[in-house]
Amino acid sequence: MAVADAIRESMSAVMDGEGTEMDLARVLKAVEEDPAARDHWQRLQRSGYALRTGSSGSSVDISVSVQAALADAGSHRKVRRVGPLGSLAVAASVTFAVVFGGQMLVGSDSPVPTAQVPGGVIALQGGAPVQASFGTRSMATQPQQRQVNVAATPSVSKVYEQLARERFSRYATEHAQSTAALQPNAIVPYARVPYLER
């Protein structure tokens, strides 16, 4: 069976060190389930090895080490250095687990799937940067049926980061007015409003 173009592109991106978490997840899934994809992956690695070293070398499949990294992260048995690629996989798996738990709390009949988009880092004045690593999908639904592949570009992520920052300033006073009565100290919500709001 031929390897899908999307898988090939993800493999190339990962091999070039430009792959996203979504690319990595796609490659791992394909390598695990599709022998043809696994063969293609190994050929890519052999080619890359030959280009880098000038020799044909032996077959090296880093998906094995990445899978091992995922298993390690899941079991928390030990800390293991797996390199940048492994770190990506571990980060993806950790985020995956966190959102999985949350989705289960919402309910199993959620009709809207979770988008797969890369996260970004943004810092407001006086605020803490937050890594929004959302390369995840809803576990409340069957991925084949409900998954939405939203290939947001880095520029789109930046736009949404800016939107979040702008909406923070725009709606902070409304939020304070709506929630002040719930706080033991009703002034505190207003003190949280960014100064620029005025």
Binding site: V98, V99, G102, Q103, L105, V106, G107, D109, S110, P111, V112, T114, A115, V117, I122, L124, Q125, G126, G127, A128, P129, V130, A132, F134, V148, V150, A152, T153, V156, S157, V159, Y160, E161, L163, A164, R165, R167, F168, Y171, A172, E174, H175, Q177, S178, T179, A180, A181, L182, Q183, P184, N185, A186, I187, V188, Y190, A191, R192, P194, Y195, R198
Partner: protein
């Protein structure tokens, strides 16, 4: 130098407290003992909680409030009520000779302490002196990862929190409020109760445990229609804003964190932009954004 040392000491105490706060999360259920009140709280603890949560309605004060998070700190002059049910504050670190900003306060939020106990663990112990006043320490621990925790030093006489440290469920400090000085005033007159703003054409498919919609409506001040819903578990509160987004903007999401407040904007499906703004972890913000639905036409 002395000020720096004092500040460092306070931070050390708070860090230790919050560390203990995080470590002890797993043992929180042990706080409730047999023979407690209906909701599992000791009678004296339940009474104290009721006093703390009603203090905003029964106590008036003027003073200077310090807000601090990360490397940012700000002093704010506050007056909780001027006799007409309105409060005011002045950003002392931002404005020179500025005029106070008048704010409309809301009173009368219904809150049953027992409704909080499934989601928070409470403990009271001896506290420290804050702003020259005796205080006891109220620790509020979340029982899951969907809400934040609080360590409050509460005025022993008036039960107003004088110092509040907000932290993640694992004890990471997000922000700190503390009165540098405070003078209590005569009890304010009763003010109008909070009224509902109306209806929204959106709703939630489901809500995280303990949360309920407490307010909804449409923002009149916005140039384009923006609908909102406010949800709360009785302590944590979140506003969810729904507006249209340009068709040219692809799906995506972004987040900003400032102190304990998170702003999470998301565009996915239906050409809507959903912004979740509130004092909750990112997991809760994301759950709420995921659950927004167009209300069926009646």
């Amino acid at each position: 130098m002395l000020l720096c040392l004092a500040s460092a000491t306070v931070r050390g105490v708070l860090t230790f407290s919050l560390f203990a706060f995080g470590v002890s999360l797993g043992a929180q259920n042990a706080e409730q003992t047999i023979g407690d009140s209906e909701c599992g709280l000791r009678p004296e603890l339940e009474r104290a909680l009721n006093q703390v949560f009603s203090a905003a309605d029964t106590v008036a004060y003027t003073g200077t409030l310090l807000i601090e998070f990360n490397n940012d700190r700000e002093f704010i002059g506050v007056n909780s009520a001027d006799g007409t049910g309105r409060g005011s504050f002045l950003r002392l670190s931002r404005e020179a000779n500025g005029s106070p900003l008048v704010i409309d306060r809301s009173y009368g939020a219904d809150r049953m302490v027992c409704s909080l106990t499934p989601f928070y663990g409470f403990n009271i112990e001896a506290g420290q002196v804050v702003a020259g006043r005796e205080a006891y320490r109220l620790t509020v621990r979340p029982k899951d990862t969907l809400r934040l925790g609080y360590v409050m030093d509460v005025d022993s006489e008036h039960h107003l929190p004088l110092r509040v440290v907000t932290a993640t469920p694992d004890g990471q400090v997000l922000e700190r409020f503390e009165f540098a000085d405070i003078q209590f005033l005569p009890t304010p007159e009763a003010a109008p109760a909070q009224t509902s703003a109306g209806q929204s054409s959106f709703s939630f498919a489901a809500l995280p445990p303990g949360f309920a919609v407490i307010q909804q409506g449409t923002l009149n001040s916005a140039a384009t229609p923006v609908e909102f819903m406010v949800v709360s578990d009785g302590l944590a509160s979140v506003s969810v804003f729904v507006e249209s987004r340009p068709r040219s903007l692809a799906d995506g999401e972004g987040v900003v964190l400032r102190g304990a407040t998170i702003a999470y904007s998301r565009g996915a499906g239906g050409n809507r932009l959903i912004t979740v703004l509130g004092e909750v972890p990112i997991t809760t913000a994301r759950l709420l954004a995921d659950a927004v639905r167009q209300r069926p036409l009646e």
